[in-house]
Symmetry: C2
DNA sequence: CGCGGCTTTGATGTTCATCAAGTAAAGTGG
DNA sequence: CCACTTTACTTGATGAACATCAAAGCCGCG
């Protein structure tokens, strides 16, 4: 497949030409079940598909919201700057998690950044086109409403859950989350650094490392760089619950 | 105006009979600008308006979502039980803040409780009727989308903001919030107890009291029971920002 | 090869929760 | 309406959890 280079937001992104369209996209059946064929063609007109390398920034906080964006393939993080400029990771999302919509319909500018944690494919649709379809197709609008509120609830819920736990519980929680929700394996490679884990579950880098080491010493997990294997699942679950 | 008594969710609520309707409601112009007259009449058919006294529970966490609900008059708190049964106040809402929608479109049961902090009027509309209107009227759906994402963003944003601050900063933040966003006065009566303030900004009751006392000693505020007056606004703003 | 960022461990200090104990206020039942 | 109970409020003392600081090894990258 041909790959073009394009300069947007001061970084280079690869834009895939329109060899495909929304109608034949595997995502149609998942995200856009309620969208009619002519509407799919309509939004497909100005659709762009882009591939981002691991580490590349997809959206930068503060830039204007001009497009409706969704993740087609890969893994991304949503990052927000606090008042003190300290970064906080709001969530880590796979395709279908749909969290990129939080700003889309109510804000003029993105209130978070999005970065690729793996090579990721992103589709963008002109926001005004999308709004047109929402206006025309209420069934689709209702579906969108459900998706968005579900994402918001997840973010809110997990933020409160994590804040209630002690450091050990937070590490246990996030290891279980990666294992069960992202990789579906007992052995997996962490897609983020220790520092980023801290930004995700609100603790210092040093304490992330310290407690991972503790877990290793207690034979709850093994650590090899970014590769983690869970040895004692029950213990980890108990730690995650007990706070 | 006549008042009937009705038993729903095991508590007594006062239901106001249909002397009014959505078409003449002052809220139409604010919330439902995109709704057509016949749609307003449609949702008005099974609409219920209820008045809750201060302290009464409007919605209990875990009960099924059967209605679309909005606050017409008053002040409410949204409360969520943590995994350890400790309560957390998600937010405090006036009419138009619209937060009761977070569960509405994606969850089978409410994942938070709603209680009245003042005497409050609440309108409920059959949820299925509401979904019908969303399906028929995309412009209205888009408006709803905007409202809901705005509320979610507010909850997420303020949660992160508060967590980043030290205790002094949290108290400063919440006093400013009540003063500027709720009462628009320098002197106001707190609608919640010290314990609830703690549940709202994530600190213990003792420390809420301690820091309020500190602020009093430093002549930043005066305290008379639940009545607070802000004496040194700049100092409070500096404390809120500095963490 | 050296620089910066990531990782790791230890020592130190501070913030905050917890415990305790007492007063005031508000609701409850006879 | 008053005794009674409960809930809210308040202050101080103590200790634990966690952030911060410091120092050193590691790795990738220009």
């Amino acid at each position: 497949m041909q790959v073009f280079r394009y300069d947007i937001y001061h970084i280079f992104m690869k834009i895939i030409p329109h060899t495909s369209n929304c109608k034949t996209c595997t995502f149609k059946s998942l995200l856009f079940t309620k969208m009619k064929d002519e509407e799919l063609q309509f939004v497909n007109k100005d659709r762009k598909e882009m591939v981002f390398d691991k580490g590349e920034m997809i959206i930068e906080e503060g830039t204007p919201v001009k497009e409706f964006l969704y993740l087609k393939r890969g893994l991304v993080k949503l990052v927000k700057k606090g008042e003190n400029q300290k970064e906080r990771i709001i969530c880590i999302a796979r395709p279908l998690d749909y969290v990129s919509l939080l700003s889309t319909f109510s804000e003029k500018t993105y209130n978070y950044s999005i970065s690729a944690l793996e090579e990721s494919s992103v589709c963008t649709i002109n926001l005004e086109s999308m709004k047109e379809v929402v206006k025309q197709n209420g069934a689709f609008a209702l579906e969108l409403l459900e998706h968005i509120t579900r994402s918001s609830n997840f973010v809110i819920q997990s933020t409160y859950d994590i804040d209630d736990k002690h450091l050990r519980g937070r590490i246990a929680y996030i290891l279980l989350w990666f294992s069960q929700k992202i990789y579906h394996k007992m052995k997996f490679e962490l897609p983020i650094s220790r520092k980023e884990i801290g930004e995700l579950i609100n603790m210092t880098t040093e304490n992330v490392i310290r407690i991972l080491s503790e877990f290793r010493k207690d034979r709850i997990i093994t650590i090899d760089g970014k590769t983690i294997e869970i040895l004692n699942l029950e213990m980890l679950e108990r730690l995650s619950k007990s706070g």
